[in-house]
């Protein structure tokens, strides 16, 4: 490792990525609710308003559809906007713009226009924010051709994916899990852009492939650690890009381990985990030595009390138990 390492947080890594993008390209600006003077709902943009001013750190009124659509229009007009939607649940108010405009304009216009727009939003549960602020709706966006969806889970990805997303000519949605913002660790001082596409093997193993992304990645790694103590070597895959999915890495892993378990904070019905499971069945059926398993969130609106919220979400013990069952070691 040639470069010095610095101790930083996910939040700071995202902020540094935004700062870097604003410095690199005058066409870049950030727009969203309370991103400016307030400093961001999750304090991601704290300090940037002072540094870059209100034109480039643009506070928008509570008009998710309006300012997301304005971001699309500005992208068409030659800018490179970063639209921040406070949380994924608010993004439902902008769904029309994302699904009907951002995703369609290129194909519908016969390839005349691209929409180089980046939309960042916080996602996920775990902070006792109750039913309307705890969704993981990544799968809704994953279902839409025309947009790309990424979920940085590591500091390197939080720091590096934004610029790559801005360089992409098509709309990219970045999901930042709320439980990751405070995560800290070492990051190379000169960390820079990383590719958007491609899954990463975060822990190699030979007995079962544990497939996860975003906020669930660390629970999954902890589960792999617990399984290792029982002599089960789990391979942990971080999807990174949710659309497109990196089928090759997934299938190569399943070909080695012959077993797969998907950990996804979305609700099970119609989930991303279901999509991945179907792909494994389609592409790696003959490699399978056991049925594909899923650990998803219980199908309830996320409750407020801590013990019920915990019970609803994927947790290390449930992941471990599901992996054991697949291996026939109940």
């Amino acid at each position: 490792m040639s470069s010095a390492m610095i101790e930083t947080t996910y939040r700071e890594a995202v902020r540094e990525a935004i700062r870097d993008a604003l410095r690199r390209d005058p066409r870049v600006f950030l727009m969203g609710e309370d991103v400016g003077r307030y400093g961001g709902c999750y304090a991601v943009t704290k300090g940037l308003w002072d540094e870059f001013g209100p034109e480039r750190i643009r506070d928008a009124p509570l008009s998710e559809s309006g300012f997301t659509g304005a971001g699309i229009g500005a992208a068409l007009g030659g800018m490179r906007p970063i639209v921040e939607i406070m949380t994924v649940n608010f993004s439902l108010l902008a769904l029309d713009q994302i699904v009907n405009n951002a995703a369609t304009l290129r194909h519908m216009s016969g390839g005349q226009v691209s929409v180089p727009l980046v939309i960042r939003m916080a996602t996920g549960a775990g902070k006792q924010l109750a039913a309307q602020h705890s969704h993981s709706l990544e799968n809704w966006y994953v279902a839409i051709p025309g947009i790309k969806v990424v979920a940085p889970a590591t500091l390197e990805d939080a720091r590096g994916m934004l610029w790559s997303a801005l360089e992409d000519p098509d709309p990219v949605v970045i999901f930042e899990h709320v439980m990751l913002y405070n995560r800290s660790g070492p990051l190379a001082a000169d960390a820079g852009p990383v590719p958007l596409a491609g899954a990463a093997i975060r822990r190699p193993g030979s007995d079962i492939s544990l497939i996860s992304y975003g906020g669930s990645l660390y629970k999954t790694l902890d589960a792999a650690e617990a399984l290792a103590r029982e002599g089960i070597e789990a391979e942990v895959i971080d999807l990174r890009s949710l659309r497109p999915l990196d089928d090759a890495t997934l299938m190569a892993s399943v070909a080695r381990t012959h077993r797969a378990l998907i950990v996804d904070e979305g609700w099970r019905t119609g989930s991303l985990a279901g999509e991945i499971s179907a792909r494994i069945m389609e592409q790696a059926f003959w490699d399978l030595d056991a049925p594909v398993g899923r650990v998803c969130t219980a199908e309830v609106p996320i409750p407020y009390p801590k013990h019920l919220e915990d019970a609803a979400l994927p947790q290390v013990p449930t992941i471990v138990a599901a992996a054991r069952a697949i291996l026939g070691r109940e």
Binding site: A252, H258, E282, F285, W286, L288, D289, A290, P291, G328
Partner: protein
């Protein structure tokens, strides 16, 4: 000049309409844009208009009648100008269509082809879809019917007719020629998993008596390696679903390394004048439809099979240094797999098959190599291998013996070459045949005789 006014299409979801009023009566004149009738649709009554000036002619439909879109409703007489013919495509004449006045009155919509109009705005369900490929369908031939797509064992399945086994376990058993019957499953719910097949295979290889007998015969219960449905999905290995190329490459590596290390090969080669066989084949194929024509390779295989009858030391197996001749002659035909890999499945009792049957079996075999439907016995039974690079342009190939076999015969690409015939150099079609054989069980002299006899048989193709 008379034209037909047809039930207009007012929406993609409108299939028919009911005439509820004739606004204009025969003889009345109308102008472009005038309403001439009212039609009831599922969205209510809609006034329908004409797009040209004219005079109302005979009304073909009565009030109250429901007719499909496109059905003639009335005859219109053009005013002054001749309505353009919409079929020329240059200028549309609206819903009207020019008819000669002599047309019979009972002319129907279908008789004048009105239903053919809609352009293919969307691909039909049958239209080929980009990026998806359908695997080569196995030729029907004499191959047994393919089994139904394999359904993976469900954890909740109470009782399975077949042994419950994971897909990976089934595939490995298939590759090793093992039957799942009698294997004890240690997986979830007692399912047979990879580990069970692996231990059975190890037991078999070490000669330990085991509950897993070698599949005695082509077993119709053994599933094909893949089904068309499974392989139609765009996947990692679309060309040969179910074949684990990485595993196959490992197996080839192990076998070839073993052969090169353990088997003392000797190599011989013989040029053969193939002109008689080429001429004979051309003449024969000229009379046959394409699907029944013979390939030169079939003659090669048959010549080798017949010749082997006199050379038992080349047809059989090495069993730990001891030669075990085979009474039957099962020629293994080396077949490349697209994307890498090689198999040499057997054509059983090759010497007893006439050329047509042999050709059919070869076609079937190649198709099943591509689609993944080989039977275990086909992989386990070859008593010798024939490898031919066909048209791929090398003069000769020296094979490596596939253990436990003891010989491999190679055919180069037939080519025109100078040939000395009765003291004259003449151009002839020539092929080079090679033999690689196990010196522990045969000698060069016998090998040379073998090649000479193969050459002789190719000189008399009519006897093959």
């Amino acid at each position: 000049m008379i034209s037909l006014y047809r039930m207009p299409s007012l929406g993609a979801d409108m299939e028919a309409g009911t005439l509820i009023e004739w606004v204009l009566q025969p003889g009345q004149t109308f102008a472009k844009g005038d309403v001439i009738a009212v039609v009831e649709t599922q969205k209510g009554a809609i006034e329908v208009e004409v797009f040209h000036d004219g005079v109302m002619g005979r009304q073909l439909i009565e009030v109250g009648q429901t007719v499909p879109v496109g059905t003639p409703l009335a005859e219109l007489e053009a005013a002054m100008v001749t309505p353009p013919d919409q079929r020329t495509g240059v200028q549309s004449g609206g819903l009207t269509e020019v008819l000669s006045e002599s047309l019979p009155a009972d002319m129907t919509a279908s008789a004048i082809g009105v239903t053919e109009a809609a352009p293919p705005l969307a691909p039909s369900p049958q239209a080929p879809f980009p990026k998806l490929s359908t695997p080569v369908a196995p030729s029907s031939g004499e191959s047994p019917p393919r089994s139904a797509p394999l359904i993976p064992p469900s954890p909740s399945m109470p009782e399975a007719v077949d042994p419950r086994a994971s897909p990976a376990a089934r595939r490995l058993a298939q590759q090793r020629g093992l039957s799942l019957d009698g294997l004890v499953g240690t997986g979830p719910g007692g399912a047979i998993v990879l580990a069970d097949v692996r231990s059975a295979a190890v037991a078999l290889a070490s000669g330990t008596p085991q509950a897993a007998p070698r599949a005695p015969a082509p077993s119709p219960t053994v599933p094909p390696l893949a089904t068309p449905a499974a392989s139609a999905t765009a996947g990692r290995r679309p060309a040969h679903p179910g074949l684990d190329l990485a595993a196959m490459r490992q197996a080839i590596a192990a076998a070839m390394a073993h052969a090169k290390r353990e088997i003392p090969h000797y190599y011989l080669s013989q040029d053969v004048d193939l002109t008689p066989a080429s001429d004979w084949l051309a003449q024969r194929n000229a009379e046959l439809p394409p699907e029944r024509r013979l390939l030169m390779g079939v003659l090669f295989i048959k010549a080798v099979a017949l010749t082997l009858k006199g050379f038992p030391e080349l047809n059989g197996f090495d069993r730990e240094g001891r030669f075990e001749p085979s009474a039957a002659i099962h020629v293994g035909c080396a077949t490349a797999i697209r994307g890498g890999g090689l198999v040499a499945p057997a054509i059983h009792d090759t010497d007893h098959l006439d050329l047509d049957t042999l050709m059919a079996k070869l076609r079937d075999l190649v198709a099943r190599v591509r689609s993944g439907g080989l039977r275990a016995s086909e992989l386990a039974d070859p008593t010798i291998t024939v490898s031919s690079l066909g048209e791929r342009g090398v003069d000769r190939l020296y094979g490596i013996i596939y253990p436990p076999q003891v010989a491999i015969v190679g055919f180069g690409t037939p080519r025109p070459a100078p040939w000395v015939l009765e003291d004259r150099v003449v151009p002839r079609q020539v092929v080079t045949v090679t033999l690689a054989a196990d010196h522990r069980h045969s000698d060069g002299h016998r090998g040379a005789l073998f090649l000479a006899q193969v050459a002789q048989r190719l000189h008399e193709p009519e006897n093959l």
